[in-house]
């Protein structure tokens, strides 16, 4: 009965209006490079302080869900992920847009995001307490290996040579070491400059390494940015549903992966979408089409990253451990509203929690029409705008988005320098996605590595610490499969007689 009343409470006109407003605001902010889901939640949290706790939670979860989804717009249309969660969406989204299927790619991303978001939210509703215990089984060394798995995945999945993908990961990790050491506290490679004392900001690296190379190549040729179809094709919803119904297992698998990875604090949407993308490619009958505009790639990435929203709330609500920075802000807002997270939350304040969960489901469902409308508008705008407006508009957003992070001109210079470096590296065949993921996962990897190294040394069992724990071994095996499988499959294909 409690659950039913929570459902009805979530469906009040005010809560529905807040969910719609939150989705629109979140999607717009998430679509702008530089403005992350965390920033959207952080900026809009104070507006919710005067609301009832359940309404505030519904508004915040709608903003967060919308921002994670919004990242796919810029990933598909300008090859720049709005948030790190959308890195894998660029692999196939942008090639689809370039060949004139950007509208279909956006509709697929919308449907996959809604499906993934619903699986994550239902996972939160039904399985929160038992799943939260999984997160507690992860120690420092597991987080280190999880970061390594994410990096080997992105290296293996990016276009071009595997060794150059791995070099990209290494370079990203080296960039992440600039600044105050996460363990030890030494100032590393700062050369006396306070600008990078706190490290190279992930969003600065994301904008520089993805946006600037796109801009540099955009102005170099007179051709249109995206191919434009002469026929009016609307949302291409029927076509997208047909594609999805043929590949429903990809959607289910990716959403389950997203929910599972979302539970692990700090792992987040970037790792989830890459793991789901890798799994989709391995299961596909056409693995060679991945990276060239394969709908399965977009579906895997988008369903997984939206499923992490619900998954991430599981440790936030049941253990008080926020899965992502945005979850941490929402946790703070919960405390302001007098909601005490922890194992007793579901018994002590069940009404608020269940209203919040139904609100998350409501927001995800509303993302379907709102996302389709916004996606259509974004696509029409991008293809209609001439290059003489598109290029400076992207440049303006790039500069403004970077400046807005810490109100620092120095970070804008850093972004430009990283962008020029990123372009040079793409010319020698090093893809940008592994570099960015290296910067994103560097702190997690270093913290896990150094803590495990310390424990291993203290117990006199360094090798056992890194290679003797069951969960670590499973993750290491998965990473090795990612590295070795393509070479093995090439060998098998080469040996197979030509019929």
């Amino acid at each position: 009965l409690d659950i039913l009343s929570s459902l009805l409470h979530a469906l009040t006109p005010l809560n529905i209006a807040l969910a719609i407003g939150g989705i629109v605001l979140g999607t717009v902010v998430g679509a702008l490079p530089g403005l992350t889901a965390t920033m959207a939640v952080a900026v809009l949290t104070p507006l919710t302080f005067t609301m009832e706790p359940d309404s505030a939670m519904i508004a915040l979860s709608a903003i967060y869900t919308g921002a994670i989804y919004g990242g796919c717009y810029s990933a598909i249309l300008i090859n720049t992920p709005g948030t790190p969660s959308a890195i894998a969406t660029t692999f196939d989204g942008y090639p689809m847009a370039k060949r004139g299927d950007g509208d279909l790619a956006l509709t697929l991303a919308n449907l996959a995001s809604v499906f993934g978001g619903l699986v994550g939210a239902i996972g939160l509703l039904l399985l929160a307490p038992p799943l939260a215990r999984v997160a507690l089984a992860f120690g420092p060394v597991e987080y280190f290996w999880l970061a390594m798995l994410g990096l080997t995945l992105v290296a293996g999945l990016s276009q071009g040579s595997l060794i150059k993908g791995l070099i990209g990961c290494g370079l990203g990790l080296l960039i992440s070491m600039v600044g105050t050491a996460i363990v030890g506290g030494d100032a590393r490679y700062t050369y006396g400059s306070p600008l990078v004392l706190g490290g190279v900001n992930v969003v600065v690296a994301l904008i520089g390494l993805f946006c600037v190379p796109v801009l540099i190549d955009l102005v170099a040729t007179p051709e249109m940015h995206l191919k434009v179809s002469s026929e009016v094709r609307g949302y291409r919803l029927r076509e997208a549903i047909e594609i999805i119904s043929r590949r429903k297992w990809n959607l289910v698998r990716s959403s389950v992966i997203g929910t599972g990875v979302g539970i692990l604090p700090a792992a987040g949407g970037a790792i989830a979408s890459l793991i789901a993308y890798g799994a989709a490619r391995r299961a596909s009958r056409n693995p060679d089409n991945f990276g060239k505009g394969e709908p399965d790639g977009i579906m895997a990435s988008e369903s997984a990253n939206n499923a992490t929203v619900g998954g991430g709330f599981i440790p936030t609500l049941t253990l008080g451990i926020p899965g992502t920075p945005a979850d941490a802000i929402i946790l703070g807002a919960l405390l302001v509203h007098g909601v005490r997270t922890g194992p007793n939350l579901f018994t002590d304040q069940s009404s608020i929690v269940y209203t919040f969960m139904f609100g998350l489901i409501l927001a995800t469902v509303l993302m379907l029409p709102i996302g389709l409308l916004l996606g259509r508008y974004a696509y029409k705008s991008i293809i209609a705008v001439p290059k003489t407006v598109l290029a400076p508009a992207i440049a303006l957003l790039t500069i403004l988005g970077t400046y807005a992070i810490h109100n620092s001109i120095g970070e804008v210079w850093l972004m430009l320098a990283l962008g020029a470096l990123g372009w040079l590296l793409t010319r020698v065949g090093v893809p940008t996605a592994p570099i960015v993921l290296g910067v994103v996962l560097g702190p997690i990897a270093e913290q896990g590595f150094v803590q495990a190294w310390l424990i291993g040394n203290a117990t006199g069992n360094l090798l056992g610490m890194f290679f003797g724990r069951p969960i670590s071994l499973v993750i290491i095996a998965a990473a090795l499969i990612v590295l070795v499988a393509p070479a093995l499959s090439r060998g098998v294909t080469a040996r197979r007689p030509v019929s």
Binding site: G160, K164, V183, I216, I399, W413, A445, V450
Partner: protein, 145 residues
């Protein structure tokens, strides 16, 4: 190109290896580990390049002059912000990047239209950031005092 890239990476790895020894053990263990991995990858890259087992480099098309002009314009744009402020420098930068991206001759009307679009776009975004998102944008030493 691949051999030169591998050599550059090995030089970078050497530099990190030497400088990391100056840090405390906790702060140096990860840089040394990752530098070692990058060093191994660089050697593998050099071997693959010598054996000609690497895929061809991406083809470079388009004008390198325009690419350099874009980077120069972006640098000038950012350099002007502390002096003349965000709005004025962005209108100049917006039009500058549009000139780098244009391939057709512009009529007087097109010039006026482009400057107007730049002004509207910049002012609207400045309003969004300053009024809604509370991001203080530089007014510049000339206009801001």
């Amino acid at each position: 190109v691949d051999l030169a890239f591998a050599a550059t990476l090995l030089a970078l790895v050497g530099y990190i290896g030497v400088t990391a020894r100056g840090f405390s053990p906790l702060a140096s263990v990860f840089p040394i580990f990752i530098a070692g991995l990058v060093g191994i990858f660089a050697v593998c890259l050099a071997v693959l390049a010598l054996l000609r087992r690497l895929p061809p480099l991406p083809a470079s098309d388009g004008s390198n002059l325009r690419r350099l002009a874009l980077l120069g314009t972006l640098a000038l744009w950012v350099a002007l912000i502390p002096t003349i402020g965000f709005i004025a420098s962005s209108i100049i930068g917006f039009v500058g990047v549009a000139i780098v991206a244009k391939y057709e001759a512009w009529s007087r009307r097109a010039w006026a239209g482009n400057i107007l679009v730049a002004a509207i776009f910049v002012v609207l975004l400045a309003l969004l950031f300053t009024q809604v998102l509370n991001v203080p944008l530089s007014k510049g030493s000339v206009f801001g005092g």
